[in-house]
């Protein structure tokens, strides 16, 4: 291709140079942002800013890109269930409380989960919550408390309960005086050996440890019987917390 009186235009060469200039510009731009927090760290801090170190806090206050990252993460992520409970009971540091409350206000899903206030009626749940909070710092964005749901009353009429989250499905069924619990976890490429279920009633709690095994390609799961149905659990009050190990 002729380039008028300036000689032939080597389009490929020129485009390559333009691209290299742009990439070089980005290299400089990125190098100036070496102290910026990465996405996993941002995901941890989005709803728990109190976990930030002094250095991180100072940087975030000054850096529009880190502030923007946190804002974006707050729009696409949900606080961990344990954080929602803790916020519900005003147990979080002020900064965390503010962020979680702001999210809950705008998020129907978290509003529902956070509204399960009856869970906190028992001393056991208080204790579990305290334990979770202690362990939260490094754990709450990682597999920990991964699912919680409250059963629908309609399903309970048949004494057959289904709890579902994005990753877990738990069904419970009464067989005479036994409670049959099935746990299914969508395969995520990781090996999960156990599911721990805490069936939280109005004043009673049943803990069920269920070893998990493969079910087809997509699921792991298993079934466990307990014989505590009739005596210990008021079916109207059952909620489930599933954690994995």
């Amino acid at each position: 291709m002729n380039m008028t009186d300036m000689g032939p235009l080597n389009l490929s060469k020129v485009m390559r140079e333009i691209e290299n200039d742009a990439l070089l510009e980005m290299e400089h731009f990125t190098a100036q942002r070496a102290d910026c927090i990465n996405v996993p760290r941002g995901a941890k801090l989005a709803f728990a800013p109190s976990l930030a170190s002094e250095k991180e806090r100072a940087h975030i206050a000054e850096c529009i890109w880190c502030s923007r990252l946190l804002t974006k993460l707050r729009a696409v992520e949900h606080p961990a269930v344990a954080l929602l409970y803790a916020a519900r009971w005003q147990r979080l540091p002020a900064a965390d409380q503010t962020e979680v409350a702001r999210h809950v206000e705008a998020c129907a899903r978290c509003k529902t989960v956070g509204a399960l206030g009856r869970l906190f009626g028992s001393g056991w749940v208080e204790e579990v919550h305290a334990g979770l909070r202690t362990a939260l710092d490094d754990a709450f964005v990682m597999p920990g408390t991964v699912g919680l749901n409250k059963g629908a009353t309609a399903a309970r009429k048949n004494e057959h309960e289904v709890f579902e989250t994005a990753e877990w499905t738990v069904t419970m069924q009464r067989e005479k005086n036994d409670l049959v619990v099935d746990v299914y976890r969508q395969a995520d490429g990781q090996a999960h050996e156990h599911a721990y279920l805490f069936l939280v009633g109005a004043g009673n709690t049943i803990e069920v440890d269920i070893p998990l095994g493969h079910i087809g390609d997509s699921w792991t799961g298993n079934r466990r019987l307990t014989n505590r149905w009739a005596s210990d659990v008021d079916p109207v009050e059952i909620s489930v917390i599933v954690t994995e190990g």
Binding site: M1, N2, M3, T4, D5, M6, G7, L9, L11, S12, V14, M15, R16, E17, I18, E19, A22, L23, E25, M26, E27, F29, T30, R33, N38, V39, P40, R41, A43, W65, R68, L69, K72, L73, V76, E77, V141, M142, D188, G189, Q190
Partner: protein, 195 residues
Amino acid sequence: MKPVDEKEKGLVDRARKGDEGAWNELVRRHRGPLDRWIFRSGVKTVEDRYDVAQNVWIKVHKGLRKFGGTAKFSTWLYKIARNCSFDHLRSIPPGVRQDQRVDTEEESQPRREQRDESTSSVENDYIAKMIVTKWLGEFQPAEHRETLWLHFVDGRGSTEIARMINESPQTVNNRIARALQKLQREMQRLKGQRR
């Protein structure tokens, strides 16, 4: 088919489990290619590209748990980058989009007093860059610009490009021909001005 990069697979697994070191290594490995894709998609300023890259990594972080590893990580990353880039471009009102050009009409035209009989090659290179930058910047819709990079810089044929961007080879050929005609017209116009 390229062999699976076992080291990368390991990094993805570790990043999925929350290893920030592995995450940082993944980002370091793919930062350059990612920026190249975003740039080629038509996102121009360095700030906008950084912003889009941030969106990409957020999506990667969120999707990592479900990333099965059957596809290459870079293939998956490219798809996300393409979508994020196009989302960004679509979010810019048409009037503003014009402002993305780094050069103005005036700047892109060589000034008459600069021209003498011994126009240097440096100057020619500069002018060539101006013209091509303007040409690329004005090629609409911006989403189609990646075709030009794939063809003129990477030297890929229309069939291969068509497969990559999920279009027909005929569409790719038309796009390239239309772009070349436009460049030709721009150069004719410049030739007229320099006389």
